[in-house]
Subunit: 313 residues, 2 copies
């Protein structure tokens, strides 16, 4: 039942000795979703002991080098590791051609197929769904088309309280109904209302990834109430003009988005290499003036969202 | 007067948590020559504190992904760092187009020019020369055209023995002649033979890089007597058939080349990811049965060749 983010790289365009280029892995029930694939992603997967073979879906926010140059090596390694299952890549259309170019010129034929899914530049779109999770893309604001992603756990059934199946001798045939909200009548005719039999389901957990982007309130509805938001915070207040010019965000702006979207927790990252590690605290403090629940990203960071229940109504 | 190798990556096609993909830096008198540029090279440069801006020449052995996928990110970072000087790349012709493709599609215009120098696939060739060093390429034997590189320090002048300029009152105008072998006649008419005035020059130091390649004795003349040879050793004896099939070398074969070429020291690397760190010792031992002076490469390894004098004849 894991819903767990691992940050592989938290630098902006220039890596530092401490920070690799952008890549995240979200583990949803042991499905591993890779988000962005900056240079060095495969080495960071090795270091964090995430098996390459578990990754079936790669989401690319935008086609800037620092978010994609790890893709070619990873695709090559998957082939060397005898992958045979399809690999799905969700990215803006122009990357399709680039991947094809690299493979044709430097790799040769792969043992597995790449399924390319172009992202909509203009509007929110459901791009993936399975039994456990839905993934949405939505437009950010950057120099080139850039997408945010929302990973939303699917609603789960009610849980029957431990011991009640035995206590009331509930037949297996009724369990599905009860989990979906039905009351139960015992063989003795006693009516047991559903809320006594069941516990509320876990809340749908969610993770929103927003990088690269300028400060842009239009994204708020897409990420409203997320359990965890990663928002880029390339610059400190003192370089606000740089942020505006390059269509990046300041840490304070990331905090403001988190506050407006009423998320539970904010992680900021994609820090400019100009800031030394000891200066990152200043960025966090600027974000916290807007939104207290802010953490700085670091490479190898793991953030787990535990299952939690809604209050019973 | 440094002549110093730093190994940034020592893995073969698949990186491990300990080993990055192939890249070496040779520091010759504070000129930094980059040899191969596997994914992660720029991060490894950060970790080893080698300034990107000091690299003006990049030598690429062959166009397999694990030797080139760090190039795109490095070129991009050099641009972000406001490089303006030309950057020289020495590689087989097809890479020229690939670099152009990536820059055009994902980078836009660079502030600096890339000068591409195609390598000769067929024969030894002097590809670079400055006041301190000459660089030669020569063909290796691999699935695609692959080149070895020899870095050869230029011969230096004789050194005048400390104190002799003062003792014999040698005028500055004569010093250049003496350093080039002339005897000296003092104002009192005494004849001082050159060998009393001077010490022999330092021997020309040399570094040979041979990766990727099958065992191939044809390379021996090109690397004869090198102070340091890096030779790939992808496989152990037990996988000799794999080495033959993939046109790579075993550690033992690397040792045999070192012995035949009478080099002073051998470093083996480019180890298959199938070998765990504790198994590398076995590869080293196999190489040492052919050539005692063998060391295993590891990422971050620095090997300095100190200046040393020839015997006076």
């Amino acid at each position: 039942m894991r819903f767990e983010l691992t940050i592989l790289g938290s630098s902006s365009a220039l890596p530092t000795s401490e920070r690799n280029l952008t890549a995240h892995v979200l583990n949803v029930y042991e499905r591993f979703f890779l988000i962005d694939c900056g240079e060095g992603t495969q080495m960071q997967l090795r270091r964090t002991r995430i098996k390459f073979g578990r990754i079936n879906h790669i989401f690319i926010s935008h086609i800037h080098g620092d978010h994609i140059y790890g893709l070619f090596g990873l695709l090559s390694s998957l082939n060397l590791l005898d992958r045979s299952e399809d690999l799905h890549i969700y990215a803006h259309e122009p990357l399709r051609k680039g991947i094809r170019y690299i493979i044709r010129n430097y790799e040769g034929k792969f043992n597995y197929a790449i399924r390319f899914h172009p992202l909509d530049e203009e509007q929110q779109q459901k791009i993936y769904e399975d039994l456990r999770v839905e993934v949405y893309s939505f437009p950010l604001k950057h120099k080139i088309p850039s997408a945010g992603f929302l990973f939303l756990e699917k609603p789960r059934e009610l849980n029957i309280r431990a011991g009640y199946v035995k206590k009331y001798d509930i037949p297996v045939s009724k369990i599905h109904e009860i989990k979906n909200g039905a009351d139960y009548r015992t063989q003795q005719g006693e009516h047991i209302p559903n809320h006594r039999l069941t516990e509320p389901p876990y809340k749908q957990r969610s993770y929103a990834f927003c990088s690269d982007t300028a400060y842009w309130e239009d994204i708020v509805p897409y990420i409203q109430g997320a359990d965890l938001l990663y928002h880029e915070a390339t610059f400190a207040d003192e370089h606000k003009d740089q942020a505006e010019y390059t269509l990046h965000s300041t840490a304070r702006e990331a905090g403001r988005i988190a506050r407006k979207a009423e998320v539970a927790k904010l992680i900021i990252g994609h820090f400019s290499a100009r800031y030394k590690e000891e200066q990152i605290t200043a960025l966090v403090n600027e974000a916290r003036e807007e939104f207290g629940e802010t953490l700085p990203a670091h490479d190898g960071m793991v953030y787990s969202i535990e299952p939690y229940r809604r209050d019973h109504h």
